[in-house]
Assembly symmetry: C2
Homo-oligomer: 154 residues x 2
DNA sequence: CTAAATTGTTATAGCTTTCACCAAACTTAC
DNA sequence: GTAAGTTTGGTGAAAGCTATAACAATTTAG
């Protein structure tokens, strides 16, 4: 009754966890986050900062809150993010033309080059990760399923 | 040149983000995390604590580090988690039989009942979320794809 | 026995979320 | 038009969770 059978890592019963989408999503996302860190280590940006650059690059002039809403983050999270990107000379806060409360965000020239380079790296490792999927067909299916789950309400 | 076209929330160009598995995984997982919080609000446990209970329930006597490794967390994260679960009388630290450094973790009787109840709730909302998938077939495919992504190495 | 590895722990830092706050903008009523 | 209240944008402080590094006690390897 006291001799536990010395379970190895593979030997563990995950029970209901194995059937829960929430848990599996977390594990998959943790792996992606870790791989992102490896690939972009020297660039000094996190997935969150990368996402901010991506939104601002395609939608120049957006306010901080607009970017936050687009990414599903809180407004307050944007302060430190934009501060950091601005200190790296990648992003620029300009006063908004018709609203003195808000800033309009723009990529700097350096930010544009930086982002292009980062996209290359991220695309590269994304493609590598997607190799465990069955071709572009399954990847598109997966992207679609994930979008449905992200927007599902109870 | 200065009149930005007043983009609404739906009007934003996500660019490369839309094709990145990492981003879509994050969005989907954020939604699951939020829904978990709604459903289990009065229970006072997070997805992380739920996962600890699930592992200990199916693998009684595991050490803290073994649970951490199973869940992909750091050992140090387990301290606060077990502290919290122990203060709720759901989990118990017993001295390990053959290693005075480590504890063996067990669910208390109350912890067992609590977990059963929590599983009912989480299963319920998991099923609700899965309704945006095409039957059990697509769910199983998705679980499988997520497992592949979680274990893929570069 | 000595050196290396392991367990639980603490401290520290980073990131994210929540709350309250102030200034600016908007809405409504005069 | 003005003046009141309300909403919104950015910010800062506090709380939460996670990851990293270091540490003492203990176990294991050589």
């Amino acid at each position: 009754m006291q001799d536990q059978p010395k379970k190895s890592d593979q030997d563990i019963d995950f029970g209901v966890l194995d059937e829960f989408l929430g848990y599996r999503l977390r594990r998959a996302q943790m792996n992606f986050f870790a791989k992102f860190g490896e690939v972009c280590e020297d660039l000094g940006i996190s997935p969150g900062l990368f996402a901010v650059l991506a939104i601002v690059e395609r939608n120049p002039g957006l306010t901080q809150t607009a970017v936050a809403q687009a990414l599903g983050n809180d407004r307050s999270a944007m302060v430190a993010a934009v501060d950091k990107l601005e200190s790296k000379n990648l992003l620029e806060r300009r006063p908004a033309v018709n609203d003195r409360r808000s800033y309009a965000l723009f990529l700097t020239a350096e930010g544009g080059r930086f982002f292009d380079n980062a996209v290359k790296r991220v695309s590269c490792y994304e493609n590598e990760m997607a190799k465990c999927l069955d071709g572009d067909e399954e990847k598109q299916w997966l992207l679609n399923a994930l979008e449905r789950l992200a927007n599902k309400s109870l």
